[in-house]
């Protein structure tokens, strides 16, 4: 997993210690994952079963889809706090443009499934574009810009559903979000495909290289003649579209579209990216890290259910894990800076 994101060491003869320190951000999350898996497997007989592996995969899928786009943003050393709200509004929009049963009291606009999907995707892309323009043209820090967008998207959601719950969504979305093929849930396949696509873009394309370079040293990127604003803006749009896709499939997965349905996904997605070891300062990490982070969170959430722990304590434990990841993240940056100055 971490192999996806490692940089080849300059010479194999270089000291192992230096190498380990440089790779700490990749190694630490992986060790955490192995430790947690081992711990829960020992603590509960029902944890390490094939069924449960399927459960974990399904449980992390929506987070995974959203985290793909967020990885781009964090690699650019920016942040997107609007992902959960954008996911929510996109999921609601796709239902809003679908004919609902008569008991659902929403003044919606019914459209063919493909049109509903396109409109919903257009909506999230548009919201991402607003983030992008605010960040690059006006110069609002992404932290504040996306905080505003979080509220705006929540507002649009509220206006669309007006406290109601919608159930009907286009068939394609329903299939991808809630059914399986050959025993594998479609949503897992979609998540895996999007993670793979994200990895390919970041690792093997020119745009991906630009993302790393802009994140690594924005000033140098600009003085190398890169269009830094275009790259940052693209990352914001990619993030919003990934969030939107996650939102639509999430609605299918949950079986309904309603307000505040995705609230926990903001923290989960950020946690997945950061726990995985992608640098909050940009330029380091990648989808491989995000996948490890997703599994750390997935195993933790699922495992805590298996060991019958106080459900209120779970929240605290998740917070502590996130804090530990942040400490490692910042520490890894310092170690690296001291090895390669």
């Amino acid at each position: 997993m971490t192999g996806l994101v490692t940089d080849e060491p300059p010479k194999p003869s270089r000291r192992i210690g230096a190498l380990l320190r440089a790779q700490m951000r990749n190694i630490a999350p992986f060790l955490t994952l192995i430790f947690l898996t081992g711990f829960f497997a020992a603590a509960s007989p029902s944890f390490a079963t094939l069924d449960n592996v399927g459960n974990i995969l399904t449980q992390v899928s929506v987070t995974g889809i959203i985290a793909v786009g967020l990885t781009f943003v964090i690699l650019c050393a920016e942040i997107d706090l609007s992902i959960a709200s954008v996911a929510n509004v996109t999921g609601i929009a796709v239902a809003y443009f679908t004919l609902q049963d008569s008991y659902v009291n929403i003044a919606n606009i019914a459209m063919p499934g493909w049109a509903a999907i396109l409109l919903a995707l257009g909506l999230c892309a548009l919201l991402g574009l607003v983030n992008a323009l605010g960040l690059t043209v006006i110069g609002i820090p992404s932290f504040i810009m996306t905080l505003a967008m979080m509220q705006i998207a929540a507002g649009v959601s509220a206006l669309l559903v007006r406290g109601q719950i919608a159930y009907k969504i286009p068939d394609l979305v329903a299939t991808l979000g809630s059914s399986s093929i050959g025993g594998i849930p479609w949503i897992v396949i979609v998540a895996a495909t999007m993670l793979l696509a994200g990895h390919v873009v970041l690792t093997y394309t020119r745009f991906g290289r630009y993302v790393y370079m802009v994140g690594g040293n924005r000033e140098a990127a600009e003085y190398s003649g890169l269009n830094v604003k275009l790259i940052l803006g693209s990352a914001m749009v990619i993030s919003a579209v990934c969030a939107g896709i996650g939102g639509m499939l999430g609605v299918a997965h949950f079986g309904s579209a309603q307000q505040n349905e995705f609230d926990t996904y903001l923290l989960d997605s950020i946690a997945a990216v950061v726990v995985g070891g992608t640098s909050l300062f940009g330029g380091r990490g990648g989808i491989g890290n995000t996948i490890v982070g997703l599994f750390v969170l997935g195993v933790l959430n699922n495992g805590l259910d298996h060991v019958n722990i106080d459900s209120f304590l779970k929240i605290l434990i998740r917070g502590l894990i996130l804090l530990a990841a942040l400490v490692i993240n910042v520490y890894a940056q310092k170690l690296r800076a001291s090895t390669a100055k």
Partner: protein, 500 residues
């Protein structure tokens, strides 16, 4: 005369290795009270490593470290500061948004018994402190609004104020105008009288000879010479530094240099009536193919803003640019790059990616020519290897992280990234700042080679030597305006300084 003063700091047999490479080998070094000790050597000779050991930044070294007659070992910079040893780096660490007084008192503001900062007392004491050292400045002015030379003096004041008695100055004169250098030297003279000790690291051997009592020369991690400044000469020091007779490289430029006659080659860039805020006023000039245009002026004369306007980083308030006759408005640096303009900024941090391998640093500016959508790393490496060979970048390993290279080699990488597909116009800001004689000579050769290939080149510098050694034609900027153009005539350092 300094020999009879007591030694403050004595180092014996200092050896320090980085990953098997010995950066320092058995160095003996003595610093006396009331002594200015000059330190010269090429980049990578070990000067900085030794100073970092003295300032507590490197704790793991072999050898004896004796301070005030007692053997000591610093574990951190903080330890060194507590013992009164402080380093002032080439890149200043001032807080530009705070006032002069706040900067002087950084970290030690006077407070009353309720813990509130005593602003008036602070301003008064800062003003007194500065005046005592002959620095006359309003303590309530914003630091960032002051010229760099003054900021440096204020930083030195702060360091002294925090109790430093051993002061290490790394390349303190490289960004200063001649009057600012004078001011710095008179301050150092005062400190020497107070009995403080100063280590003065510089590439400017003239400066070293003027201000130091003793000069130590480093080469390849060894101390190769130590002499009283009064009893040595520039030629002797350079010989010790480089190891062979290289005097011709470091011409003094005091005598006249004949610039070639006006070129009739096509104009690549025409700048007309450029104005930016207070920093540029109605600047017009042209750059021609196969010609090196030097833009000279003291620090803060607007030359850096001018360079940024040419590369699309800064929008001019008025005026226009034309590239090969076509009018251009650069909204972004990307547009300038596509128009065939290359830019090498004055600081390495602003142009290089230290955590990325060399080949990615070289390919970044030409990636759109190498790869449409998918990257081709093997092709990138190939291109990088060719550049590494051409510019003799060492070590010649394109997969090494850039941060592992020495400063001079990093600087070459910054140039290399523009040369795989030569641009029409190359803008070089301070291309030889902080370089040793050998590396400077490499840059001169590279620039001459590029000129012969028909590139238009603009060299922007505050160092007269740099402009004189590279330029065919020289434009002098003063307070944001063009005050003089030297073309097809005799020019010398004196005349340049006089014009600026």
């Amino acid at each position: 005369m300094s020999q009879d003063r007591s030694a403050v700091l004595e180092l014996h047999g200092i050896t320090k290795a980085f990953g098997g490479v010995e950066a320092l080998q058995g160095i003996d070094f003595t610093l006396r009270a009331g002594e200015i000790h000059g330190l010269v050597g090429e980049n990578g000779a070990g000067k900085s490593t030794l100073m970092k050991i003295i300032a507590g930044a490197h704790a793991d070294f072999v050898g004896q470290f004796v301070l005030d007659g007692r053997e000591t070992r610093f574990r951190s910079v903080r330890d060194a500061l507590a013992a009164g040893i402080a380093m002032v780096h080439q890149e200043l660490s001032v807080a530009p948004d705070l006032t002069v007084a706040e900067n002087v008192f950084l970290g030690s503001q006077p407070v009353n018994r309720f813990g509130f900062v005593q602003w008036r007392r602070m301003a008064r004491e800062a003003g007194e402190q500065l005046a005592r050292l002959g620095i006359h400045v309003d303590p309530l002015q914003r630091m960032g609004d002051l010229p760099i030379g003054l900021q440096q003096l204020i930083e030195i004041t702060r360091v002294l104020f925090s109790g430093a008695r051993i002061l290490i100055l790394d390349e303190p004169t490289s960004a200063l105008s001649p009057p600012e250098v004078e001011r710095l030297f008179s301050l150092l003279g005062r400190l020497r009288q107070d009995g403080r000790s100063i280590v003065f690291i510089s590439h400017f051997i003239d400066d070293i000879l003027r201000v130091s009592d003793v000069v130590t020369v480093f080469r390849n991690g060894r101390k190769v010479a130590e002499a009283e400044a009064a009893k040595t000469s520039k030629a002797v020091l350079i010989e010790a530094m480089i190891g062979k007779g290289h005097e011709e490289l470091e011409e003094s430029y005091l005598h006249d240099i004949a610039l070639p006659a006006a070129s009739d080659r096509p104009t690549v860039l025409q700048a007309s009536h450029l104005s930016v805020g207070r920093s540029l006023r109605d600047v017009s000039f042209e750059a021609r193919a196969g010609e090196v245009l030097g833009i000279y002026g003291f620090m803060g004369c607007g030359q850096l803003d001018l360079a940024r306007v040419l590369f699309g980083k800064l929008k001019p308030d008025r005026g226009e640019l034309a590239v090969t006759g076509r009018k251009m408005v650069f909204g972004t640096t990307a547009a300038a790059r596509r128009a065939g303009i290359a830019f090498v900024p004055e600081s390495r941090r602003a142009m290089l990616f230290h955590q990325e391998p060399v080949y990615k640093n070289i390919s970044i500016s030409i990636l759109d020519r190498v790869a449409a959508i998918l990257l081709k790393p093997s092709r990138e490496r190939e291109i990088a290897k060719r550049q590494v060979e051409n510019l003799q970048i060492r070590p010649a390993a394109v997969d090494l992280d850039l941060g592992m290279l020495s400063g001079g080699n990093q600087q070459k990488v910054g140039l290399a990234k523009w040369l795989s597909y030569p641009p029409k116009l190359l803008i070089l800001c301070e291309p030889t700042r902080g370089m040793d004689v050998g590396a400077k000579n490499d840059v001169v050769n590279i620039v001459r080679d590029l000129r012969s290939r028909g590139l238009a080149i603009i060299v922007v510098s505050t160092e007269p030597e740099t402009v004189l050694s590279l330029a065919d034609r020289i434009v002098v900027l003063k307070r944001g305006a063009v005050v003089r153009e030297f073309v097809g005539e005799m020019v010398s350092k004196d005349r340049l300084l006089e014009a600026a």
